[in-house]
């Protein structure tokens, strides 16, 4: 205490100086507009700097929450982008010749638009699942077509979904012909490339040429005649040497298939009934 008093007494002039300087500056800022405004501005700058530093610190501490929110927002936006992309693709879709021709051929048929929700393309027995089922009028053994031509045949039907056996399944067997000719064979896939299948049993006297169109023959109740399947890529011999085997380049890209239509054949019941009668009578 005594030391403190000694200190204060020894440096009393410094304290007096500080006191009087404060008084001077109070006068200065109080009665001089310019200095007062500069002081006010400077003081505000100091306050703003401190507030800014505090704000930066709080922003840094909140980064985790911000990051989480941004991630969620990003997911939502990605979903929106995907929806819009699909909507845009649909709105600006330019139909190809094959699509127009298919639409023309199928104008008398009821078409059930569907979307592929699951698609296996790696194995030898590939399947597609579409988002239309019995509730939408889909039943088994209906044909399925896409923008590139024939896709496959409905195999199993649930209420809202159906399983389709595509051309790229070894069990698939669709009756086809070369356009302009009446000879028909069966389209089969043997694995490997998803863009390549074969049509066997084309007679040797049939004049099949490379580049000709392969289409459905209409000999089954599933597809009407004339639906594009692909083009002849190569004409070869069948394994038994008795007929031609056509190497067909498929019109449908099964690795990238999205929108399809199920063909609800109006005459299917009649044709099936005839088959049934015939089978019954022949077996008797």
């Amino acid at each position: 205490m005594r030391n403190l008093l000694d200190f204060l007494r020894k440096y009393n002039y410094v304290f007096l100086f500080l006191l009087l300087e404060i008084a001077s500056f109070v006068l200065l800022f109080r009665f001089n507009n310019f200095q007062g405004s500069v002081w006010f501005t400077s003081a505000n700058t100091v306050v703003a700097t401190i507030n800014g530093a505090y704000g930066d610190m709080m922003a840094y501490l909140n980064l985790q929450t911000v990051n989480r929110d941004l991630t969620q927002r990003n997911i939502v936006l990605q979903q929106q982008v995907e929806q819009l992309r699909v909507a845009l693709a649909r709105a600006t879709h330019d139909s190809t010749y094959t699509e127009k021709r298919i639409a023309e051929i199928l104008s008398d048929y009821e078409m059930i638009p569907a979307r592929v929700v699951s698609n296996t393309t790696r194995g030898s027995n590939n399947y597609l699942v579409i988002d239309r089922g019995s509730a939408h009028g889909v039943s088994t053994e209906m044909g399925v077509v896409g923008g590139g031509g024939v896709v496959g045949i409905v195999y199993l039907v649930e209420q809202h979904h159906s399983l389709v056996i595509p051309v790229t399944n070894k069990k698939s067997n669709i009756s086809c012909r070369v356009r302009g000719q009446s000879y028909h064979g069966f389209l089969q896939w043997e694995g490997g490339s998803l863009r390549r299948a074969f049509v066997d049993d084309i007679p040797r006297y049939a004049a099949a040429k490379v580049g000709e169109v392969v289409e459905t023959s209409g000999y089954s109740s599933m597809f009407p005649p004339g639906i594009f399947v692909g083009r002849v890529k190569k004409v070869g011999n069948s394994p038994d040497g008795q007929s031609y085997r056509l190497d067909v380049s498929l019109g449908t890209d099964f690795a990238n298939i999205r929108d399809v239509s199920v063909i609800a054949t109006p005459h299917k019941v009649e044709i099936d009934s005839l088959y049934h009668h015939a089978n019954t009578q022949l077996s008797m």
Partner: protein, 171 residues
């Protein structure tokens, strides 16, 4: 003692009057204004308590401010000058006078030492005055010119006043 106090009051009033009525109206080339009122602090005895230098500096500055309409400017600068003067005086005191009590003058300090003493004290006062008054270094060229001109004028007037005072005393 009373005579000394009266003499100091006389100097105080004279310097205020000179500053207010004469020197404040001098603006050489629009920049330089002499401020020889600092002379009042230069001629205080060396044994005076330091706080008195500070207090008298503030008081003189405050009165100058009141008349010059510059509140706080002269009081702040002269108060700080009052803090510095005892240190300057101690530095300028010849070694043979360190133990003595004296009033700084051309005679007691010697011509050169007093001039240096007056120059350094004036410089501190002028620099502080201009910096506080302008409160900005934006026009630093005009600030430097103002400081330089005013400092030179102030110093010349201080030496002139001291010369007159010394001459009067001799008589």
């Amino acid at each position: 003692m009373i005579q000394t106090i009266l003499s100091r009051i006389g100097w105080f009033l004279l310097l205020v009057a000179l500053q207010v009525f004469v020197f404040n109206h001098i603006h050489v080339l629009g920049y330089a204004t002499p401020m020889p009122y600092v002379f009042f602090l230069l001629i205080l005895p060396n044994d005076l308590p330091r706080w008195l230098f500070v207090a008298l500096g503030f008081l003189l500055g405050l009165i100058i401010d009141m008349f010059a309409d510059t509140p706080g400017v002269a009081s702040a600068s002269l108060c700080a000058t009052g803090l510095a003067i005892p240190f300057l005086l101690k530095a300028m005191t010849p070694s043979d006078k360190e133990e003595e009590v004296f009033i700084p003058s051309l005679h007691t300090l010697g011509r050169f030492r007093f001039m240096l003493f007056a120059a350094s004290a004036s410089l501190i006062n002028i620099v502080l005055y201009f910096v506080i008054e302008l409160f900005s270094f934006y026009n630093w060229e005009s600030l430097l010119i103002g400081i330089g001109g005013s400092w030179l004028l102030t110093w010349l007037f201080v030496i002139a006043i001291e010369s007159i005072r010394s001459a009067t005393k001799k008589k």
